[in-house]
């Protein structure tokens, strides 16, 4: 799996219920999550509220609670899930991720795309 997908290491590097980070030179840091159901997701590590580091939040279901002001962010879509006026439509970019034979791959174009801006 080369080219299109970027191998970022073994799934065992992230314990369930945790997240780890992948800084991108010249771009936004990426947070890679491992849920308690053993699903993996990647988001830009920036809360749509005030840029809190989502990687440091509590993970429950497929949601992470931002450590700064407790917004709940969907790991699947990056959307803020609360009903508040600020939260409507607030969203953080997700990075397509796949797990294959025990390793995690991110879509290279999405990772690099974050550096273009």
């Amino acid at each position: 799996m080369t080219g299109e997908w970027l191998d970022i290491g073994a799934i065992t590097q992230i314990a369930p219920g945790n997240a780890r980070t992948l800084p991108v030179q010249g771009g936004d840091e990426i947070a890679v999550f491992h849920t308690l159901d053993n699903q993996f997701y990647a988001l830009v590590n920036k809360c749509p509220h005030k840029a809190g580091p989502l990687s440091q939040g509590i993970v429950h279901g497929t949601v992470v609670t931002c450590p700064l002001h407790n917004w709940n962010i969907s790991l699947k879509t990056g959307e803020a899930l609360g009903g508040g006026p600020d939260e409507l439509g607030a969203c953080v970019p997700t990075i397509p991720l796949r797990v294959d034979a025990g390793r995690i791959y991110l879509l290279r174009a999405a990772v690099v795309g974050k550096t273009a801006a």
């Binding site: 314990a15 580091p53 993970v59 429950h60 879509t77």
Partner: protein
Amino acid sequence: MNAPLDMKHVFRGGGDQERLVVIGNGMAGCRAVEEILARDPARYAVTIFGAEPRVNYNRIMLSPVLSGEKAFDEIVINDAAWYADNAVTLVSGDAVVHIDRAARTVVTRSGRVEEYDRLLIATGSDPFIIPIPGRDLAGVVTFRDLDDVERMLSAAERGGSAVVIGGGLLGLEAAHGLSLRGMAVTVIHLMPTLMERQLDEAAGWLLKAELESRGQTILTGADTAEILGEDGHVSGVRLKDGREIPASLLVMAVGIRPATALAKAAGLEVERGIVVDDHMVTSDPAVLAVGECVQHRGACYGLVAPLWDMCRALADHACDTPSGYAGSVTSTKLKVSGIDLFSAGDFSGGEGCEDIVMRDAARGLYKRVVVKDNRLIGAVLYGDTADGNWYFDMLRSGEDISAIREALIFGQAFASGGTQLDPNAAVAALSDGAEICGCNGVSKGRVVGCILGGANTLDAVRASCKASASCGSCTGLVESLLGLTLGGEVARTVKTVCKCTSFTHDDVRRLIVANAFRAIPQVMQELHWSTPDGCASCRPALNYYLLCALPGEYVDDQKSRFVNERMHANIQKDGTYSVVPRMWGGLTNPRELRAIADVVEKFNAPMVKVTGGQRLDIFGIKKEDLPAVWADLNAAGMVSGHAYGKSLRTVKTCVGSEWCRFGTQDSTGLGVQIEQMTWGSWMPHKFKIAVSGCPRNCAEATIKDFGIICVDSGYELHVGGNGGIKVRVTDVLGKVETEAQAMELCAAFIQLYREKAHYLERTAPWIERIGLEAVKAGLFDDAGAVAALAARFAYSQSFMQDDPWAKRAAGEDAELHQHLGEFRPFPAPDLELPAVLEPAA
């Protein structure tokens, strides 16, 4: 072998039969042949090569053969007569070692060459062996074929103990079999949850508890470093954390890899598996492939159900009536007698998805179905899998379930009851004599009677007839009855921990202690949590309640802690951290100050500030640098100040009798002693203490959780103060004469608060809620209470007072501080940096 040549000639009918050669006499290879024969028995002259020296058998039944529940004869699918009757030539015990696509021949190990018109590769999978030292020792086996089972059985005959590496389906079935054969079995599993690909945390926990109760040792989150040996034979394993487990047999069941070597060498397109199209045709139109060795639309399968679908499509194609295979949804059951477990589809939840969870602790049941857009997309069942197939059918058909939505979780029998789709209707249909509350033996009639008699809230019902007042699991039923009897929705009157449960904080605390619960998933199961793994509100609360109830025993659940407590520092708005080392009673010295100054310079901390808690706060430290900062502070004798914790924060002091002209007692010294007694303890919320040397109260002791004001004749003790959002002046608890008494009461008060308050309730609102009299009663009504509480606090503290920073500085939980790697999209050409740097694990 035993090729029935005469039969073959009967079918050959003039020699125009195409020659079909099959590599692999396993489940898929033989089924494909059966499917072809069923469509057109005369079309092909079939030769099957099998590496195993036997006829085709049902591989999945090797588990019951291992455990002794079945004999090999009983699991044979195609006996010798079948091959003969169908004119299929079986060459067993002779593996194909080469495919020559140009010449259209295969060559076997023994040198036999066979020509084909069509070739079918059905080589299955190879067990994966983790590349650790000792993997070649005698006594290391995998679990794939009958030879493996025989190796395990002969080891089991000699007795002793076995280690199974891998807590997936295969590993657990191996462990079960070996344990029934009398071996002492330890399962070593890398992930925290058994069968994590099929189960969620809740079901994984139930499974682990059940296997442990059967005498197996299950080590989750355990990584094997090395297989130990003696005289060339396995003697045990050593884990990465240093633990050693003796064993005379080691079963490696960590996964499988499609067996693609032969296909790859023949130049066929191979990724993870042999790439096939919807008709099971490989990149060479003359070569087909089927079974676990293939990769279809990006997916590889490790279960039999998809093989049956693949074989149908393959046969349709091979007999010129192409249909096409579109991939399979799979479901899993564990074949361990007495354990009912089923999982299918996607149960990762998320928005748009709705989780419906039902737990019945008394019967050991956990059911979870996941619904999205009115369709069932996943199911996990533990304890009762009777409805597994029903859910699986719905899942595969993708039918709209909105009509049975409410009753879905209750299963087929209930959901097809037609008129009773609404659970409220089901409750309405119960007879008056039906028991609602099992704990207190309260019938439906009595509950309704109470409600009609004026008990129009849940609390009132609980108070009048006790229904749902004990374990609480019938709360939902009682609420239904309230709604049915009074009409309309009944507003919830009790404040539950969060939306995941119908229990209050007090209920949960009481039940944890009464039932000796020991783990978060256990509490969730026994107390019927309505979500699979809780939320950001209840997880930290449960973690604290268990920690408080089981000092020294409970293993803290890091992932249930708020970031600051997980990182042992305070997160800032820019994602950096602030670091506050303890300065006992506000005292410091040149060595500490120098170390702080050095840290500020060395790590370029942009700010250092004197806090309102009489100590120094270093700002702007990156998570990667925290362990190094702590190491430097530790070296100067400083430990964590817990400025981040629901825990003892500071003990603020004034200068007291040592220097102050008004000081009556040594307030500074007493403050230091108190801080040394109380630091490190986890509390429902943060806790602040102050000691002032006289009533001028320079340490602001009257707005602290626990405050001491020294007077000539002794010490005035104050509780429940708060200088924060809502200022509250302390209540006076009493007066004592000696430092020792002051300290004992301080410890007793803290322990009472630790054991009674709700999580995230500071002492001020706690005392407002329960009243000062209740606090005094808890401390003074029983003559021995103060001493007993203080002793419990001291016992708990004996496990708490090791500096969390020191452990991190020494390398514990290093992954919390390190990045996964760094991505450099535009590597500097002269540096030749790889695109991603992966830190050594």
